[in-house]
């Protein structure tokens, strides 16, 4: 079943262009100059029910604008979208019963009141049957461990506590599709981890489709199976997260801590690796998996050094994205089977990175 589908979705808006200085301001008062900016251009996307999709891109790429069109908040300039069978901006209220939306940077909770009051309000607004609502609320309170904060005014909650309440609130009406706009922004590692677990669990247990935007590589790696990268308002890449990590940037980062009596790092030249940093006894290597295998590198390292500690990591997704940009604009980087899944439309926007 298709959860959402967009066809050539575009959104542009006009901004007043102002010259610097007072004279510029005065001139724009009498003869305003308008500039057309493209926030989203030609987005074609299909998401199936139950999928977990990450929508990635740098600031101003059009991620939030797209989510806001898909939830019916914004009207597109042109193009079409269908979310759970509705045209979002035309059937906004009808669609609202069936989707949940969380904006990491905006709160839906009433600031001076305890979260419980907002939950009750939501139960009325979504016309939930009171017995169902109470059972659902109890379940979510347990799963999200909200009991200690339920009766504390929201303004006195920490960001992490608040965010858990926000997400629980958006699950009260059992949405089929959940939009998360930067859900873990500003949270510490442990809280992020917990929130990802909760969303993943809801996706698994209730089959909720998840569509999220994030800057955080962890959100994508741990929560999503598919990644859509947008840039300048258009889709740059649409691929499985696994495939993205494997094919686009087939590198791993090895961090070593050497024992004090180990040979110095300078002598370390292992084929297919590159030293990224070298500070005292800590060394970071980047391994190109198209030239060598991780086990070869590790055994070479063990042969050359006396190791105190070693970690092997996937590169952060930010780097992957940067890499794709590099490939598109400079033509550098490995060509891969993903070429075919890239779509036209990038570069049409008025914004720059």
């Amino acid at each position: 079943m298709i959860a959402l589908r967009t066809a050539s979705l575009c959104k542009s808006f006009r901004v007043k262009r102002k010259m610097p200085g007072l004279s510029g301001s005065i001139r724009s008062l009498f003869r305003p100059e308008w500039e057309e900016r493209t926030a989203v251009s030609d987005i074609n996307l299909t998401v199936h029910a139950g999928e977990t999709v990450a929508f990635l891109g740098p600031n101003g790429a059009g991620k939030s604008t797209t989510i806001k069109m898909l939830t019916g908040i914004l009207h597109p300039t042109s193009g079409n979208a269908e979310v759970l069978g509705f045209t979002p901006w035309r059937d906004r209220t009808k669609l609202a019963y069936r989707i949940g939306t969380v904006f990491g940077q905006k709160s839906q909770l009433w600031y001076h009141l305890p979260p419980m009051d907002t939950f009750d309000l939501i139960s009325r607004i979504y016309e939930l049957k009171q017995s169902d609502y109470k059972a659902r609320r109890k379940d979510l309170i347990e799963r999200f461990e909200l009991e200690p904060y339920l009766h504390t005014p929201v303004r006195k909650l920490s960001l992490g506590e608040r965010m858990r309440c926000e997400i629980a609130a958006s699950f009260l009406h059992r949405p089929q599709l959940l939009f998360l706009d930067e859900p873990t922004i500003g949270l510490d590692v442990l809280v992020k981890q917990r929130i990802r677990e909760l969303i993943r669990e809801l996706n698994r247990k209730e089959g909720t489709t998840v569509f999220l935007t994030s800057h955080d590589a962890g959100d994508v790696e741990e929560l999503c199976t598919r990644a859509v990268v947008i840039h300048h308002g258009g889709i740059l890449l649409d691929a499985k997260v696994e495939q993205l990590k494997r094919d686009i940037l087939n590198r791993k980062t090895i961090t070593l801590t050497l024992k004090p009596d180990s040979p110095s790092a300078i002598q370390a030249r292992i084929a297919g690796t590159e030293i990224v940093s070298n500070e005292g006894r800590r060394m970071k290597l980047s391994v190109d998996l198209s030239q060598t295998d991780i086990d070869l590198v590790l055994s070479a390292l063990v042969g050359k050094f006396r190791l105190e500690d070693v970690t092997v990591e996937d590169p952060p997704l930010e780097e992957i994205i940067k890499h794709i940009y590099g490939m598109r604009t400079g033509g550098a980087g490995p060509e891969s089977g993903l070429e075919a899944s890239r779509q036209a439309g990038a570069g049409a926007g008025g914004r720059r990175l």
Partner: protein, 272 residues
């Protein structure tokens, strides 16, 4: 028919829920209420002195059919109604500017219904408080409000009055979809209510030609109509007043709805 009824009752329950939560949130602003209440006392004190001078202390005298006592109580009612209005345009302008409007629009509820019910919750609550505070000082200086049915008239016409105030403020607020600052427009609206709305003095005291203009404007339905009914119940036609209010509610309601429909399609939410 049944479906229609259940639709209406579901909508009614939503509006009631928002009304209740706004009221609860309001209770967090105690200091704000105290400040407003003391300011009201000050204003009324000044006006009592002013009108006492105009009437030269003569409690029997009538000016344009109003006794001193009626004028003072009239002021209490118009002040209570004026100060009841929350700053709707400021709020909507902020929502449009900083993108918080997104939080309102993710709900299965119309944006205008949300604001109407939250506006009314605040306005009715504040109206009550200001009525009590204003009554205290007026009672002290000009005697008890022995208006009989006038009270019933005041309370029943105030619902329409506050609704029209919402619609007027809302129409100004909707301009936030097009222009960056609505404060100027709001200022003009407020001053119109003060003058041709009959807040500072009953419209009957104005020159004939101005009275004729005021009769065709919506501002009198917000302040003059309920306050005059309160102090001079015998002289007014309640039916006519209700009709005037209803007509303005329809006209302004269509107006705000049309402006909103056009405005929301142009919305570009700032901040990512």
């Amino acid at each position: 028919m049944n479906g229609r009824l259940s639709f209406l009752s579901a909508k009614g329950r939503k509006i009631e829920a928002i009304y209740r939560i706004t009221l609860r949130q309001q209770l967090a602003y105690k200091v704000d209420f105290m400040l407003r209440a003391s300011f009201l006392l000050l204003i009324l004190y000044v006006f009592i002195q002013l009108w006492s001078a105009a009437y030269e202390g003569d409690t029997e005298r009538l000016i344009a059919g109003f006794s001193l006592k009626q004028i003072i109580w009239y002021l209490v009612f118009t002040e209570a109604l004026t100060m009841a209005s929350p700053q709707l345009s400021l709020r909507i302008e902020e929502e449009v500017k900083n993108g918080d409007i997104a939080i309102r629009l993710i709900r299965p509820l119309s944006y205008l219904s949300y604001h109407y019910s939250s506006y009314m919750a605040e306005a009715v609550f504040r109206f009550g408080i200001h009525l009590v505070v204003g009554s205290f000082i007026a009672w002290l200086f000009v005697g008890p409000p022995t208006f009989g049915f006038g009270w019933l008239g005041l309370l029943s016409l105030s619902a329409g009055a506050l609704t029209i105030a919402f619609l007027l403020n809302g129409i100004v607020a909707m301009c936030a979809f097009w222009i960056e600052e609505t404060r100027g427009l709001e200022f003009v609206l407020q001053k119109l209510k003060f003058t041709v709305g009959g807040m500072l003095l009953p419209i009957d005291l104005m020159p004939e030609w101005l009275q004729r203009i005021c009769a065709w404007l919506p501002f009198q339905a917000v302040l003059y109509i309920p306050a005059r009914t309160a102090v001079a119940y015998e002289e007014v036609s309640m039916l006519q007043y209700f009709a005037v209010q209803a007509a303005w509610i329809v006209v302004l309601g269509i107006g705000i709805w049309t402006i909103y429909r056009r405005g929301v399609t142009r919305l570009h939410v700032n901040g990512g």
